[in-house]
């Protein structure tokens, strides 16, 4: 697309898309028990809708394990999706026969993160670049050789490199070779899966510039999977943010960076080191790690870590205190309050000879409050009463009842209803109850 439009152009996805992903799912079975039966699923990709327009670069960002690479591979059917459809230029890829799929591979290619392991160490560079043409095109050997020579120069290497083995090249050069290989069949769409993550910054810059040049020259459409937000900002027209198997926000790059809407996008952007000396006081630091995709949280998957999790209507909380209440509920739900450890610690800190069992319950309750960052007293007296009741039950060892009590009193829409991804007034898409 025109350089000037980069990252600002609006696109609601109503026009024709080159790649259209609908409700795509990829589950991996989890086996266990003595009979090694299936006991559950890891929902790596769980119902993703995404449209990629011809000529654009769509960025796909998220933390490790969020399913972004699985999405990239299952949309190319390098791994078979569990459900959903992918259409390429109007044709259903997921329904294509084996022979048709082979033809489609000419149109859709991939560049992997780890170039070294994606290049066959026993082949010469010339054969590596020519191999896809041999399998997927009707070009004869002379034509293949000619095209290989053109491509190797196109990616910034030279003809004399063709006879060498891949291990004699640096990381950046190896990535150039794998880009030449992807280009050999003249594709229209390339999935770039962390193409520069293994490279040094000065080499990364060269590869990103190369991808940019090639896009102009060959009218390519890219899906760039990356965890580095600065890279995404630089190369992408639009960005999709993924969390735990779902897309949470899609927006033109400039809009996403200037004004992120989804609380997860905000946290992700805020976590990026700034390369400036300005204070990092307002940084949003998310607690904990992403939950397991085997057993994702109910409702909005981000509600277990979300700083902006919505409060119940009947009470009034300070937002930080409300987050702490949610954390307490979660610890109770998962039976991970660590009551014994807290008792032991309180006993040790009291300095007396009392054992952990002699510690007064009130001291344990206040230790729990301190550990979770709950204020000594909540602002809302009604909420405070309920919280005290819950804490008392928890300290008496009635964790389950405490969990039920707090769960029914302090319910939030975020844990109950999964937010659909919706188009907001400014054209972006976002899946969050704050914008219902």
């Amino acid at each position: 697309m025109a350089e000037a439009d980069r990252g600002t152009a609006d696109w609601t996805g109503e026009e024709d898309a080159l790649v259209e992903i609908r409700d795509l799912k990829k589950y991996y079975p989890v086996k266990g028990g003595i009979l090694n039966r299936k006991v559950g699923d890891v929902k790596a990709v769980d119902g993703v809708d995404l449209r990629i327009r011809e000529g654009e670069t769509l960025g796909l960002v998220g933390e490790s394990g969020c399913g972004k690479s699985t999405l990239g591979r299952s949309l190319l059917r390098l791994i078979e999706p569990t459900g959903g459809t992918v259409t390429f230029d109007g044709e259903d890829v997921t329904a294509a026969s084996k022979s048709r799929m082979r033809e489609l591979r000419r149109e859709m290619q991939i560049v992997f993160q780890d170039a070294a392991s994606s290049l066959n160490p026993r082949m010469r560079v010339g054969d590596i670049v020519a191999e896809p043409m041999e399998w997927l095109t009707d070009l004869d050997e002379a034509e293949r050789r000619e095209r290989t020579r053109t491509l190797i120069e196109e990616v910034g290497l030279s003809e004399e490199h063709l006879g060498r083995a891949p291990h004699t090249f640096s990381g950046g050069q190896q990535q150039r070779i794998s880009i030449a290989r992807a280009l050999s069949v003249d594709p229209r769409f390339i999935v770039c899966d962390e193409p520069t993550s293994a490279l040094d910054v000065s080499v990364q810059a060269k590869i990103l510039n190369l991808l940019d040049d090639l896009q102009d020259e060959y009218d390519l459409t890219y899906l760039v999977i990356n965890h580095d937000m600065s890279v995404v900002r630089h190369v992408c027209d639009r960005v999709a943010v993924m969390y735990l198997g779902k897309i949470v926000e899609v927006a033109p790059t400039e809009r996403l960076f200037a004004d992120p809407k989804h609380p997860y996008t905000k946290a992700l952007l805020s976590a990026v080191p700034r390369a400036s000396r300005e204070a990092v006081d307002d940084r949003i630091v998310l607690g904990g790690s992403p939950p397991s995709p085997e057993n994702p949280p109910s409702g909005c998957r981000f509600h277990t870590r979300c700083p902006a999790v919505i409060q119940p209507e009947d009470y009034e909380f300070d937002q930080a205190a409300w987050r702490a209440v949610m954390d307490l509920r979660q610890r109770l739900d998962e039976d991970e309050l660590g009551l014994e450890a807290i008792r032991e610690r309180v006993a040790a800190e009291s300095g007396s000879t009392d054992g952990p069992d002699d510690v007064p319950d009130s001291a344990v309750r206040s230790a729990i409050r301190t550990e979770l960052g709950l204020p000594e007293r909540l602002g809302d007296p009604a909420a405070e009463r309920t919280l005290r009741e819950g804490l008392a039950l928890a300290v008496e060892g009635e964790g389950e009842r405490a969990s039920e009590l707090l769960g029914s009193a302090f319910a939030t829409v975020c844990e109950e209803v999964e937010p659909p991804i919706e188009t907001l007034a400014d054209g972006r898409q976002c899946a969050c109850h704050l914008y219902d």
């Binding site: 350089e3 980069r6 990252g7 933390e63 490790s64 640096s170 990381g171 040094d200 910054v201 000065s202 080499v203 990364q204 810059a205 060269k206 990103l208 510039n209 940019d212 965890h227 580095d228 937000m229 600065s230 890279v231 900002r233 630089h234 790059t253 400039e254 960076f257 946290a267 992700l268 952007l269 805020s270 976590a271 990026v272 080191p273 700034r274 390369a275 400036s276 000396r277 990092v280 940084r283 630091v285 998310l286 790690s289 991970e336 660590g338 014994e340 450890a341 032991e344 610690r345 550990e371």
Partner: protein
């Protein structure tokens, strides 16, 4: 006296393909209660330098050809293995990049975190275990008592890195060397770990050497920066000068090639050429073949020494633009405002 003082360190590796000149005269110092950020791309020698400090280079193939490493007045290179064992893991400790491969998968967290204490102090097992629990807690790990009896595979990447940090801090070392401690982590977890480093620095008053290839990461933490290139130090300066007044052409180009989160460049700057082959001894300035400011004979023939450019010891540069060997001076304005220009100037060097 500096806490750690490395002077003119030369290290060679004797390999089947010849002698690799890994370090070609590294001089660095770390003051007490200071965070030194060591920056450089793969192969620049940042890890080799720190492994030499720890006495962890395997010899052969490695050989310390010349130079000295003084820690707290003692010459580490002349210490016996037994004497060195008293220092490392106790007074100096190290955190490695990949927490999965540097934790023993078959030992509990408690055993591993307590181990340095059992090796270096007279604490009993119970006392060591209690100290381990406290340190894990200080590193922001909830439910530390339970963690003591868990195994590394039961933890997430961020938690494992916290365990590594706890293990390094449990003896309350004076110097902590962290080799790319956040590189294997996601940004949100990286933010937690950087926060932790800031807190721990306050709490334990430890000097930290933070090795990374990531300029933005180090700039959040470091007081002073050393930029390394092919086994030499190209520039060392305070964090403010690193932002506003970088003097070495390599430092300036490195800054330009970093994609910025706040602004969008049409095109990223690149550094032309490739790193020289370290199997050949370095002659002249190691950056000469790629340097846009290359000016002939002096650059090709004489290796520039690291010398002060501002009259203060705190800003030193190894570049003939600032030496007496050549008459040429730097073509850019010195004395600040680099970042501002960086944002407004078009890309160079491509």
């Amino acid at each position: 006296m500096s806490l750690l003082e490395i002077e003119d360190l030369h290290v060679h590796f004797h390999t089947e393909e010849g002698v690799v000149h890994a370090l070609n005269g590294v001089s660095l110092s770390v003051e007490r209660d200071e965070v030194l950020g060591v920056i450089g791309e793969s192969g620049c020698g940042k890890s080799v330098t720190m492994l030499s400090v720890m006495g962890l280079l395997r010899s052969p193939p490695a050989e310390v050809v010349s130079g000295s490493i003084r820690y707290d007045g003692r010459d580490l290179l002349s210490l016996s293995e037994a004497e060195l064992n008293e220092v490392r893991g106790n007074e100096i400790s190290m955190i490695y990049q990949d927490p999965m491969t540097s934790l023993n998968p078959s030992l509990t967290i408690g055993r591993q975190v307590a181990e340095p204490l059992l090796a270096h102090t007279d604490l009993s097992r119970t006392e060591a275990r209690e100290r381990a629990r406290e340190t894990l807690e200080a590193c922001g790990l909830p439910d530390a008592s339970r963690l003591l009896s868990e195994y590394p595979h039961e933890l997430s990447g961020g938690m494992r890195q916290r365990v590594m940090i706890a293990m390094a801090l449990v003896t309350e070392p004076d110097l902590l060397i962290a080799d790319e401690p956040t590189t294997a982590l996601d940004v949100t977890i990286q933010a937690q770990i950087l926060d932790l480093f800031r807190e721990l620095r306050e709490e334990f008053e430890t000097s930290i050497v933070f090795i990374t290839h990531d300029l933005p990461v180090v700039s959040e933490l470091a007081d002073r920066i050393a930029v390394m290139y092919t086994g030499t130090v190209a520039e060392t300066c305070g964090i403010d000068a690193f932002f506003d007044d970088p003097r070495h052409p390599y430092t300036r180009l490195l800054w330009r090639s970093v994609p910025k989160l706040d602004t969008r460049a049409e095109r990223l700057s690149v550094i032309d050429g490739t790193v020289p082959d370290l199997r050949e001894p370095i002659e002249g300035c190691p950056f000469a073949s790629r340097c846009p400011e290359h000016h002939g004979e002096p650059c090709d023939r004489v290796q520039p020494a690291l010398r002060s450019v501002t009259g203060e010891q705190t800003h030193e540069v190894a570049c003939h633009l600032y030496t007496d060997v050549s008459e040429r001076g730097p073509p850019w304005p010195v004395g600040g405002g680099f970042q501002g220009r960086l944002a407004s100037e078009p890309a160079e060097g491509d």
